[in-house]
Symmetry: C2
Subunit: 246 residues, 2 copies
């Protein structure tokens, strides 16, 4: 892990860009973080739109995490942003767009081609980032995962024992294999669902919530479309992590 | 409204029992409430099990409300507690129990007989209580309604313009006429759903949530049975009222 930039935000949060191999990322740590007082960590997931486009929302989430005393970190997804393009993924996206534009049903084959390769590549990268982040003296545990592509969150929750709680954003383009993995998730979950999400099928999202094996799982459904999550719902996510990471 | 008892709880909350006609009730006001600083009010709904049996849970909710600076008040439901028995309601309950014990489907007729007379009698009583409570100089507005029989909450939300926000507990024994009234509810709603509630059908509860006409409505679903609402879910209700009654 190599830090490439470092700056102090106005609220005292230290923002550092890093690269881990060829994967760029960000680490935000609260002013309080130090080797003698290492802080818990939230991995900040995001959709595959590129870190620079997602930066405003990510830094806002990181500032909220820092206000609770937590570090936040994120990495670029494969095929996104400045990382090498990934023709198979681009093709899968084009297939999805064409299918939806034609009003045809999105079948398993399209969903699998779109999501599974991304999960298979992204999850080991997140785990490698976690190794590197936890080796920093000012970053401790426990670790939470928040947001982003829900299938990535599900896989991480199953395979990465250092993640003790996850806040997920309900999505319906979930491969069957991920749906089955959801039954094996046992950590506390906080799931946000936008009730009228134009890009997601509500029933699929409810079925996935039902499938999770966790004894503590909470669904917060709110009105509005995909990007209309109300501010108070974000506060609910913050309180979930405060309960589980402190 | 005639106060019959008065005592100060250890946290400074003033607890008063009252009767309004032949309907007994409780009013809890925070120490801060005074004619020069009247407080908002939360009407504390409850299931028809009798006020004395419900008292521990009601006073706990009232203390939480008082800690936020709100008064809490409740009245006995018709046919419950020390109020005259109501043979038709007792008959409807016996019919429901027998049907459920036999594993037979609970049809509309049973639900209507069980719920509609209760709603028709209880709602005017809650409104009369509201008249009396708001005439007290130390109780102002705005007014919220919380919990209890969801059909009572729906009817109140439709007919009582002084109620500006409602926290409801999802139930499935909802008559069709109440389901239709739900579409006319426009105030902000916060609905709690116990995902594995043995007494409620989950899909019916989700359908009712979907039917509400409110632009701001939030569903908080948690694991566990009817009485297993986690403590953090109660805190979510408190924050909902804090947003809307302050």
């Amino acid at each position: 892990m190599r830090f490439t930039t470092e700056r102090r935000l106005d609220d005292g949060v230290l923002e550092r860009e890093f690269t881990l191999g060829d994967v760029p990322g960000y680490l935000w740590t609260p002013a309080s973080a130090s080797p003698s007082a290492p802080v818990p960590l939230i991995l900040l997931g995001h959709p595959p739109l590129g870190l620079s486009r997602m930066y405003p929302r990510l830094v806002a989430r990181a500032r909220h995490a820092a206000a609770e005393g937590f570090a936040g970190a994120t990495i670029e997804l494969p095929g996104s942003g400045d990382r090498p393009s990934w023709p198979a993924l681009d093709q899968a996206r084009a297939d999805l767009r064409r299918t939806m534009a034609a009003g045809e049903p999105v079948d398993d084959e399209i969903v699998d081609a779109l999501v599974l390769p991304l999960v298979d590549r992204a999850v080991p990268e997140w785990r490698a980032a976690l190794d590197a982040l936890l080796s920093l003296p000012e970053v401790g545990g426990p670790v939470g995962y928040s947001g982003g592509v829900i299938s990535v969150g599900v896989r991480l929750a199953v395979v990465e024992p250092r993640i003790v709680a996850a806040g997920l954003f309900a999505g319906s383009l979930v491969p069957r294999v991920i749906f089955e993995e959801a039954r094996r998730v046992t950590i506390p979950l906080h799931v946000l669902l936008q009730w009228d999400d134009e890009g997601n099928d509500r029933q699929s999202a409810l079925d996935l919530f039902d499938a999770f094996g966790s004894a503590e799982k909470t669904l917060h459904a709110n009105m509005g479309g995909h990007t209309g999550v109300p501010e108070f719902a974000g506060e609910g996510v913050a309180r979930f992590f405060a309960r589980h990471l402190r």
